[in-house]
Symmetry: D2
Subunit: 306 residues, 4 copies
Amino acid sequence: MQTLLNNIAAEMARVTERGHVADYIPQLAHVSAARFGMAVALPDGQVFTAGDANEPFSIQSISKVFALTLALGKRGDALWQYVGREPSGDPFNSIVQLEHESGKPRNPFINAGAIAVVDAIMMGHEPKEVLAEMLNFVRYLANDASICFDHEVAASELEHKHRNASLAHFMKAFGRLKHDVDKVIGTYFHQCALAMSCVQLAQSGLFLVSDGVNQATDSRVVSAQRARRINSLMMMCGHYDGSGEFAYRVGLPGKSGVGGGILAIAPGKASIAVWSPGLDRIGNSLLGTRALEMLVQETGWSVFGH
Amino acid sequence: MQTLLNNIAAEMARVTERGHVADYIPQLAHVSAARFGMAVALPDGQVFTAGDANEPFSIQSISKVFALTLALGKRGDALWQYVGREPSGDPFNSIVQLEHESGKPRNPFINAGAIAVVDAIMMGHEPKEVLAEMLNFVRYLANDASICFDHEVAASELEHKHRNASLAHFMKAFGRLKHDVDKVIGTYFHQCALAMSCVQLAQSGLFLVSDGVNQATDSRVVSAQRARRINSLMMMCGHYDGSGEFAYRVGLPGKSGVGGGILAIAPGKASIAVWSPGLDRIGNSLLGTRALEMLVQETGWSVFGH
Amino acid sequence: MQTLLNNIAAEMARVTERGHVADYIPQLAHVSAARFGMAVALPDGQVFTAGDANEPFSIQSISKVFALTLALGKRGDALWQYVGREPSGDPFNSIVQLEHESGKPRNPFINAGAIAVVDAIMMGHEPKEVLAEMLNFVRYLANDASICFDHEVAASELEHKHRNASLAHFMKAFGRLKHDVDKVIGTYFHQCALAMSCVQLAQSGLFLVSDGVNQATDSRVVSAQRARRINSLMMMCGHYDGSGEFAYRVGLPGKSGVGGGILAIAPGKASIAVWSPGLDRIGNSLLGTRALEMLVQETGWSVFGH
Amino acid sequence: MQTLLNNIAAEMARVTERGHVADYIPQLAHVSAARFGMAVALPDGQVFTAGDANEPFSIQSISKVFALTLALGKRGDALWQYVGREPSGDPFNSIVQLEHESGKPRNPFINAGAIAVVDAIMMGHEPKEVLAEMLNFVRYLANDASICFDHEVAASELEHKHRNASLAHFMKAFGRLKHDVDKVIGTYFHQCALAMSCVQLAQSGLFLVSDGVNQATDSRVVSAQRARRINSLMMMCGHYDGSGEFAYRVGLPGKSGVGGGILAIAPGKASIAVWSPGLDRIGNSLLGTRALEMLVQETGWSVFGH
């Protein structure tokens, strides 16, 4: 495994077409497209790494996996009154589908759906309390108490809030958000501003590898059924309107973030995190996807084979 | 396994809400919603059955899996110039996306995409020749020379061709079909009019279980990579805008048909065919999905667990 | 004319199917559907009335005509960088078209367009200043210094701001609004909360009857060309996706408001205001449209005849 | 008037940016963008001309005005079960709205709507009979028995039928066309292949100038109300998603054709035909619109002024 990761990192270092780093906020725009990190966490707790695997980066939309897990814990199946579970066929920040479907987002991983998930988590609490709970949950998942929000990123997101504010107000107009719009999106931006390294991220995904149990820490996080369902949502919707492409090329449930990270789950095998800030046209990490493709080709970890 | 299938069939027999049988052509409308069949084919050639598992039915859109396989064999990756590989987020017969995306269908399993696949297969040949090749291919996959087209169904489809004719002419207007529209959709309707039993269908899917090899007949049909990719497309797009729901509840690559059949693949485990004519709101077999859900719960065959 | 108005009012009093009064804010919901008023102002200053013609009501979207006039005065043709001049084919509060056309609203009379017009008027000033200017302008047009905002309505609109806030944030995300979103929509809600009677409204439209000149007060408000262009926009877009119907049945440029008012212009002939709170499915006054239809049938004032 | 037309023609001759000649069929593609003709027919029968005013050209979609008039004569208000009367906000050949609105076209002037109008006219007759009736009707309107179909154009349209065939099959799938699709679109293509000169076209529009009466031939064609309603539809929908622009700049009901012709009606004043093959981005004659704009500026014929 270590040799394989070394080979992948070496191969990625040679790539010159590295995609386009997100530039809508300066904190993301200033990250070098040359960065590349990868970590593979096995159920037994072993972690293999390559490149900048210990460098914290803004996990952005990958946080939606943790928020979904938290929301399912609080709401159970009632969560699906807030949000659907179908691919949208539209970009991550699209509002068209909301108008056609009475303000109910298609799935928890497009922005509108993730905002609805935050609203479902809040249950009358203040953003500060909700964020503390989220942070504790992620630290618990990753078994690492050093994980933090990057408040500069959150503040900058808030300055560029308008597209997400539009989504939130639209849902509010349909009575689909229970809390104050500004509080909901403030919480959402903080959630997305979680800073984690590939190692931390890979460890946080271990419960999805082993049917809900983090075997490394010997703790059951969710039921087997729920873990499988979260994986199914990552497979179907985790890369927005590039989800089909990711399934085709990589064949694993995965969730990408605009910071260039991807968390991918090989059930029964490993939790994998990869980070490379350059994005493709859809907004998914260009080299991250390619690295996962290589990994799966060598390991045969695709869920579509055996 | 046999006990499990018996239990499932017994349970399904008790269900009173059986969905709505497709009624756009009399040949489908006259099938009783009471019918239920299921077959599980294992890589070693064993087949377990329950209910009407040997009764041939109209496989309809399930045939798109075989056509896709054939087209990939003829065209390789050039096929993706004809058709995309993303979930559409729209109903199976929608034309909206075609207008927004220059007449290129999102994936090979919505109607427009399947018509484009037929065009890609034709390569200048007449419908009769193309259909003969398709039939031979399916007989080879299922290892059963008795499989036939139901020409009555095909003729009836042709009488109700207008929605599909609209899709085909739209793509033709964008230069995306090379052959005569009437020949393409005539071929398409015949392809969809394949009559197969659950047993035949389950056997025809074995090559997707074992990385491209039908172990029962010891023949390699496609490469391992291609088998995995076909599975990924079935997972992402096999149930139209109900694909997310199917992945969430069943967790297997699958393809449904309006005749009430579903073919599902558990990689490394089994090829499963189920048939129950009553459909849900999206157009997928209501009891077929439920039966698969039960099967996977008992066997743990979801690709999202281990 | 007086006899005709009496007849119309009598006829309208007999109608039992009076439409549905807007109920999204209590101030509108509490208005009785039994109310009906009408006023016809002639270029020479004569005003004929019937029913509740002196009762002030919430003019709502009719105010968009005055805001457009003001914006054209400040910005000239540069206004068309902010907003288009085509019918949208969509409901008044739709956001779909904004996503498809980079956040630029189709015309100044759908909500998104009217919000963009407010932004164009503001030019760095505070809402209070802008509203003072708007009020002065409307008082000047109507030659009536008693016209006021209904601050209760404005406050209530603000509480139900979410759909419009969504439109505004969406445009802001595309850089199409220069001012703070809350200030822009606060100003917009006040503008829409103008309270005017049919008499006041009819008088305020006189400048559009006589090629830009209010002959009753002998003042030129805009150039002849601009008056004609404003009329053309009212004709094409003044009743949202019911504009075709209004043109077909009434044949005059007109602008409706959700409060149940309609201002219609018969060029060279008269400025007509009608008020009846019950709305049709599209959101236009049911009896108001019918009353105008009767008026035009009797007078032959349709612009499409001679 | 003659001097004005001379000036306009001279001005147009100087324009170098002449738009893009339609090139989807050779018969249109081979027409020179240098051509320009104009004719103004007054109610008393006088006709003023400039440029190539006696040169027949393919009137294409302008024929939809005559077909609509014929259909209203046969069906009366029942026609509106076939087709709506609202601007679509979409391009002339769009199919999106059909899917969202159960296959009913928004208005009689977009392609789908015009095809539905042809179906409404057919009433069980063969294309040949229907076309003979159409031709007689247009000859009667224009008072000129020499008008003919250009069969070469019709044949060429048929070869490039696919977009329109798609629209027709789509409507047929919703049960909105009663006749055979091939017969309907065959008839439609012939209708669009009418060849007329500006003089003939201007004369054929006289009945819309004088409330339904062609005063030059002293014949009542339709009722006053119907004439006004046809004018309203031309105003609202006659230039597709450029109708707002035409109303804004010209201010007359008008109908354009892809052959570069425009018929415009100044109620009570004149029927005007202009021809220049170069089109704008929307598909309307670039110089034709400009010439009409000049004419209206000089004559003050806008329906929005007095």
